[in-house]
């Protein structure tokens, strides 16, 4: 009974945390960066996550950073008392909070009951989380973990929220994955100019279609999926509504930084996204600044690994010195068929991808919208190309790599395809 009540309390507290105006310190005060409640909560969780990451990079232990956060939350509530009174205690916020809490609570019970960690979670991500939880240094974490070259944001946040509630149950840390997933869905649906209840309804449809305990077994793909979904909303405004607001780029950059530190594939996905942004209508100097910043963030990730004497690299399944030769060797008809077969199976495994791609086919024949949607089709082609290239370039057994990992690589970057049904709804119902 105590555990059940504790889950209820933790979920309530995490929902509250999303509304604590931590981001006020950085953004909200500036009038030209006004956010609605969905942007606001998303930015909040992104800022929060980035601060955790920066603390870890600065070698501040999880225990200490938890206390800093308690203090930070207390201070922000105190400092922005007036802001909270004027902006947080609103009917709109109240409804959003209640709905978020309800869905979060229903799904958190599922995680707390099942508990099971997946294979990679047991061998890679959870041991890293344990090390963070035990306040070990980055060097120790890297030294004793499998795949020390892997980034660690997922394990770090897992350990942080595990410690945050002072309950010896690791699944508390995984609640954060669920929170970021739910926030990204609510934020994404905000693209549509419909009533609040309809937004909740559509969010619920998406959540029902996507949610499965499988995604929350301690794997990192759901974080990547959520972060790309957050970025997708702003890509929509940039490309389809030609809105060239700086705040969109800020959110994209903050999300990108988390992507870099979550999984190595994240680096490639953000490169694809920022490549697409080069064709946006932002001023040239802003585009240059944006791409420079993203390259600096990527370099920083490797530089920090180098400074701390951690193993620098992407993945030991790839031998970069002769990758081209390996690629040519693996480039056989049977391997191509194998990859295509698994892509096809993955589409049917995840209903949300199937539905999105069906909408993409419908939109393909609509000449009036194809120009607006083009960037998603380009992303789809790049994504498929990327899958073929990485699986054909592996120096280990292609069959094993494809069967064990392709579905996850396809799923994690597929959140952007949710723009297809959104496009369709927008066009059909003029919303």
């Amino acid at each position: 009974m105590i555990e059940f009540l504790y889950i209820c309390f933790s979920v309530f507290f995490l929902c509250l945390l999303v509304f604590v105006p931590i981001n006020n310190i950085f953004f909200i005060k500036k009038k030209n960066l006004e956010f609605n409640i969905f942007d606001y909560t998303t930015l909040n969780i992104l800022v929060f996550s980035n601060i955790i990451l920066i603390f870890a990079i600065l070698k501040i232990s999880i225990s200490f950073s938890v206390y800093i956060f308690y203090l930070l939350i207390f201070l922000t509530i105190f400092v922005f008392k007036k802001f909270i009174k004027n902006n947080i205690f609103k009917k709109e916020v109240y409804y959003y909070f209640s709905f978020l809490f309800l869905i979060f609570f229903i799904l958190s019970i599922d995680i707390a009951y099942y508990l099971t960690l997946g294979w990679d979670a047991q061998s890679i991500w959870f041991p890293k989380a344990i090390s963070f939880y035990n306040d070990e240094s980055l060097l120790e974490i890297s030294k004793f973990s499998r795949h020390p070259e892997y980034p660690f944001f997922g394990s770090l946040s897992w350990a942080f929220f595990w410690k945050f509630f002072h309950l010896e149950k690791e699944y508390m840390g995984r609640f954060f994955y669920l929170l970021i997933f739910l926030i990204s869905i609510f934020n994404f649906v905000d693209i549509l100019r419909i009533s609040r209840t309809k937004k909740f309804l559509l969010s619920l449809v998406f959540i029902s279609l996507i949610y499965d305990y499988w995604h929350f077994r301690g794997y990192q793909e759901i974080i990547i999926f959520s972060l790309i979904l957050i970025i997708s909303k702003y890509l929509y405004f940039i490309f389809c509504e030609n809105q060239t607001k700086i705040k969109f780029l800020i959110i994209i950059l903050i999300s990108s930084n988390l992507l870099i530190w979550t999984k190595n594939e994240g680096i490639f996905f953000i490169l694809f996204i920022h490549f697409l942004l080069l064709f946006s209508k932002y001023e040239k100097k802003i585009k240059v600044l944006n791409i420079s910043l993203i390259l600096i963030l990527i370099s920083l990730r490797f530089l920090i690994y180098k400074i701390y004497n951690l193993e620098v690299g992407l993945q030991d399944n790839y031998n970069f010195s002769n990758i081209f030769i390996v690629f040519l060797e693996n480039l056989t008809l049977s391997n191509i068929i194998l990859i295509m077969e698994n892509i096809f199976l993955t589409i049917f495994k995840f209903p949300i991808i199937l539905i999105s791609l069906i909408f993409s086919l419908i939109l393909l024949f609509d000449k009036s919208v194809i120009k607006n949607v083009l960037f998603v089709y380009i992303y789809l082609l790049i994504h498929l190309g990327f899958i073929f290239i990485i699986y054909l370039s592996t120096s280990t057994d292609v069959y094993w790599m494809v069967v064990t990992g392709l579905n996850r690589v396809f799923f994690e970057a597929s959140s952007i395809y949710l723009l297809f049904p959104i496009f369709y709804l927008k066009k059909k119902f003029k919303i």
């Binding site: 009951y113 099942y114 047991q122 209840t197 309809k198």
Partner: protein, 151 residues
């Protein structure tokens, strides 16, 4: 009564009632699909440790729930609790499994004298591990064992 009638009328006149009903319907599906009430019941009546030992990963040959493969990790949790282990024993799983040392979380020291054997029985029921040099501390149907090396 009249007051209730007017409230109901007002409610049903609302444009968004249909949407609210849809939301309610979807929440019901979500609750049903994720076995919310059954899982809540289990959470209230079973503690965290026993869930780890029995349902989360399966206990030796007894499978856990749909998300776990027969790794036998539940048996390691059981031995850890029963014998109050403070050092990590050698873990030998005859099934293909990831490194299960994470069960011992913050333990650093390894005790090479103690060994946990998982999935010891072959398809024909014969044991895969020779026990002659070991003292049996716990035996679960000869399939999962906790052993100590004889001096």
């Amino acid at each position: 009564m009249k007051k209730t009638d007017t409230i109901l009328k007002k409610l049903f006149k609302r444009k968004e009632l249909q949407t609210i009903l849809f939301i309610f319907f979807l929440i019901c599906i979500l609750v049903k699909n994720n076995n919310f009430f059954k899982n809540s019941f289990e959470l209230i009546y079973t503690n965290y440790e026993s869930r780890l030992q029995s349902t989360a990963y399966g206990f030796c040959e007894i499978p856990g729930h749909e998300y776990s493969k027969n790794l036998g990790t539940g048996y390691i949790f059981f031995i850890k609790d029963k014998f109050e282990l403070k050092k990590i024993p050698i873990i030998k799983d005859f099934n293909i499994s990831p490194n299960q040392r994470w069960v011992f979380q913050d333990y650093d020291e390894i005790n090479k004298k103690k060994i946990i054997i998982l999935n010891n029985l072959d398809n024909d029921g014969s044991p895969k591990f020779k026990l002659n040099k070991y003292k049996i501390l716990h035996n679960h149907k000869n399939n999962c064992l906790f052993l100590e090396k004889n001096d």
